[in-house]
Amino acid sequence: MRYLPKSTAERRDMLAAIGARSIESLFASIPEKFRLKEPLRLPAAMSEQEIIDYFRARAAENSGGYTSFLGAGVYNHLRSVVTDSLIQRGEFLTSYTPYQAEISQGTLQAIFEFQTLMCELTGMEVANASMWDGSTATTEAVLMAERLTGRHRVVVARSLHPEYRQVLDTYTRNLGVHIHEIGFTSSGQADIARLEAAIDKETAAVVVQSPNFFGVLEQIPHLAELAHAKGALLVVAITEGVSLGAVRPPAEADIVAMETQSFGLAPSYGGPYAGVIATRDKFVRQMPGRLAGETVDSNGRRGYVLTLATREQHIRREKATSNICTNQALCALAVTIHLCLLGKEGLKELAAQNLAKARFALDLLESIPGVRRAFSGPFFNEFAVQFPRSVKLVNRDLLREKIIGPLPLGSSYADLTKRALFCVTETTSRAEIERMAAAVREILSKPV
């Protein structure tokens, strides 16, 4: 087998050196009745070429050749060859968590740079590296707020991603956390009046997403005031990081939980991505996840180490801030490299392109009889429209045109049937947008 570096003779010699009669004898500590007598029933071993052929065949059964208008937490953005070649360097790809700082300075310094970039993006003072994804980062942010406030009620906007809310529910259901969901108004923003009424002296956190699930920006400064007035913390989730190139960061928030997939990570049917938690310095000791800090070596040279580890499971066990161990390090490295390539100007231009394309698409759609914009609030690169008929029917016909249509909001919000969430990024060409709009016009011009 090509991955195994031993000849039969070497194996024999090593067994002899051990003083073992056979390889089976090395497994003698497994009770006889549990030792397999038959080979496993697995597909026969494949060569490299056969493996490639297998996956090429699977790839061909997917969505090749279709234009997509899906976002909703996972975005199609340009990725770079530079990022992808750098993260495949064996020194990054095949190293472990940098516990041994002297031979992990590359990873450690990159983590430190990631933390800095995340602070600049979000307007927070400190950021970890990393969480499993945006949904678990949001959940961990809520648990963190609970520890910081000693309170157990959480007010959550329904405009937070439905899957994020489900993850939050799975985690908190058994922990005595009470979740109170708040609806949205015709702007698509969280219902501030209801929200204000729901926050009380038991509220640990108010949780919103911005841009929210409908693509609409929330009024962060106002929400922060309301939360802080009752001693609660404001947790802001961000699924579309590119928005931060054009949108004010949620600087008034106490904890930001962000999914960084938009920064150079492939959609990859759901992962791997990288979540991050950013917060204020004063909260750092309740923050979960890994942190790299600057220090000096015994000769006074600048270097980096993992720090504040007394928060973590390998030191604190049942008293740790979280159980996270393996995180999304290589994805966070890709994000770091990608953001360095983008830089100040690139991120700004990227965000501007998304703003322009999404507006261009909305204008075209709104010109179609029966199609209306669903929410009036400011948006970045996603927006919801209302169709005169079921979104599923429209999407079925769009598929015939090799277009993957918008996400039907009715599947997650019973009150939003016929509403569809479009995402348009810099990767969608004008011609594709025009083709989609023409197809929608054509579909809606015919009776159901």
């Binding site: 390889i23 397999l36 770079s80 499993w132 994804d133 899957e163 004010r248 830089g343 700004k348």
Partner: protein, 499 residues
């Protein structure tokens, strides 16, 4: 002394500051296709209250600077690609590059989790085949591929147990039993699952103490989490008896499968009483650790736990695969978008490369560990001398007499061209030296490691200071961790801002 170091020499490594220190206004590393729709000003589009001018502290650098920056940083890392990485419990094996290749294919990397399922049959077939292979390897009935890492697999497993107990016994019960040899994620996870942790002392062989277990398993105990082989690298002889004791009291057996590299193709947890377990695909199934992640922690279960699996659940309907998001008894979702699909792709590529021959990998892993054990057991102390499987745990007891600790020996190994072994646990071995070579090491590499370890043992006796001040050949010497934690500097700040 340096002539004893055979595996490594010194070479020039480039100095490199932080990327922010190379920034100059106007430089950039990316250009976009021109905008093909009318441009819009962010202030006009969003309103001044929502718009942002730019991200102040972002670096401005060119493509070549980014390339050199990260290439230089990379050369400061040790990696499996450079040599043996014997971190016990972490299973640092070769990460086949074909896995990277297929995970990046057009049609694999490009797929959106919300695209129609009829346009996702390729992705779903990959998930199905992987799940089937993992069920065969573990002897379990089915499972979920959703958890993002081992620790999230543990949480998923405990939540399944919770849901099962609530459903069938009217309540979740109170406690989870965890041996004192367990990894830190086990107790941390149990707490997040809403359980109290009861630590269970191991017997004098480092094994589950069945007599003791019989005393402490009551109606309050929901489950026991057992790592098998244990973190001592030893097969739990009494695992099936432990399962019986637990089952007799209505409790379940959770197996931490981090050490499955010792069992694949040789024995199956499903056959020795395990009800639920996780796998670390970034250990046993060769997906790269990437400096700390990403991983994937599938959870495999017996039939009784199937109704509670997290959504979405993979189903087969009229010859097509489909994801079902609505299962009445499901614990819900543990992560958005279904899981670390790209990692699952790599794990399947690994499994396909071996097929039933995966047993050979297991045999070689165990052979290497026993070879190293045999060649070192006369110079290092072995607190538990039960037969080793895929890893061997020594302690620094002998070297400690000269003031040399496991950490010192670990740091000295760096000078010899190796990554250190695991020092942090198991906690039942003070001064632990947990060595896991994996199957990826040749006899020559094992011999070099043995020579290095023997040379260090000698140094610890004759020139202990040399060991205590190691490493000597690295870019940086030992770093001041205490200062880092006392006054944390966790981000770069421009000179003008810092005080």
């Amino acid at each position: 002394m340096t002539d004893r170091i055979k595996k490594a020499g010194r070479h020039v490594s480039q100095n490199e500051g932080l990327i922010f220190e190379q920034s100059a206004p106007g430089k950039r590393g990316v250009e976009f296709p021109p905008l093909d729709v009318p441009a819009i000003d962010a202030r006009t589009a969003l309103g001044t209250a929502y718009a942002r001018e730019s991200v102040a502290g972002f670096p401005e650098v060119s493509e070549i600077e980014v390339m050199r920056h990260f290439t230089r940083l990379s050369t400061w890392n040790y990696a499996i690609d450079l040599g043996m990485y014997p971190l016990g419990s972490c299973t640092m094996k070769y990460n086949p590059r074909v896995n990277e290749f297929v995970a990046r294919l057009e049609g694999i990397a490009t797929e959106h989790p919300y695209q129609p399922q009829e346009l996702s049959q390729g992705c779903l077939k990959i998930l199905k085949l992987l799940l089937d292979c993992l069920a065969e390897i573990t002897g379990m009935d089915t499972g979920t591929l959703e958890p993002a890492a081992g620790a999230q697999g543990e949480l998923t497993g405990l939540l399944l147990i919770r849901a099962y107990l609530e459903d069938t016994q009217g309540g979740p019960r109170k406690k989870v039993l965890i041996p004192d040899s367990a990894h830190g994620t086990n107790p941390a996870t149990a707490v997040i699952a809403g359980y109290e942790v009861e630590n269970v002392p191991s017997d004098e062989h480092g094994q589950i103490d069945i007599a003791r277990l019989k005393e402490i398993v009551t109606g309050d105990v929901a489950a026991m989490m057992v790592t098998n082989p244990s973190t001592l690298g030893v097969f739990e002889q009494n695992i099936a008896e432990a399962a019986e004791v637990l089952h007799a009291h209505g409790a379940l057996l959770y197996m931490d499968g981090a050490n499955m590299n010792a069992l694949a193709g040789v024995a199956r947890p499903g056959d020795f009483g395990v009800d639920v377990m996780h796998l670390n695909l970034h250990k046993t199934f060769s997906t790269p650790h990437g400096g700390g992640g990403p991983g994937a922690g599938p959870v495999m279960v017996k039939k009784i736990l199937e109704p509670y699996l997290p959504v979405p659940v993979l189903d087969e309907k009229d010859g097509h695969l489909a994801l079902d998001h609505h299962k009445r008894k499901s614990i819900g979702r543990v992560r958005a978008f279904g899981g670390n699909f790209g990692v699952l792709v790599r794990a399947l590529a690994y499994t396909l490369a071996y097929g039933p021959g995966i047993r050979q990998a297991t045999e070689d892993a165990v052979l290497n560990a026993n070879y190293i054990r045999k060649k070192l057991e006369d110079v290092y102390d072995m607190p538990f001398n039960s037969p080793s499987m895929h890893e061997v745990v020594f302690s620094d007891a002998r070297q400690k007499k000269n003031g040399v600790s496991t950490m010192d020996i670990a740091k000295r190994l760096i000078d010899y061209g190796f990554h250190p072994y695991t020092t942090a646990f198991p906690l039942i071995v003070p001064g632990a030296m947990m060595i896991e070579p994996t199957e990826s090491e040749s006899r020559q590499e094992c011999d070099l490691f043995v020579e290095a370890m023997r040379a260090i043992a000698e140094e610890a006796a004759t020139t202990p200071d040399l060991v205590k001040t190691a490493p000597h050949n690295t870019r940086v010497s030992r770093l001041d961790e205490v200062a880092a934690a006392r006054k944390p500097v966790l981000r770069w700040k421009p000179k003008a801002h810092s005080s």
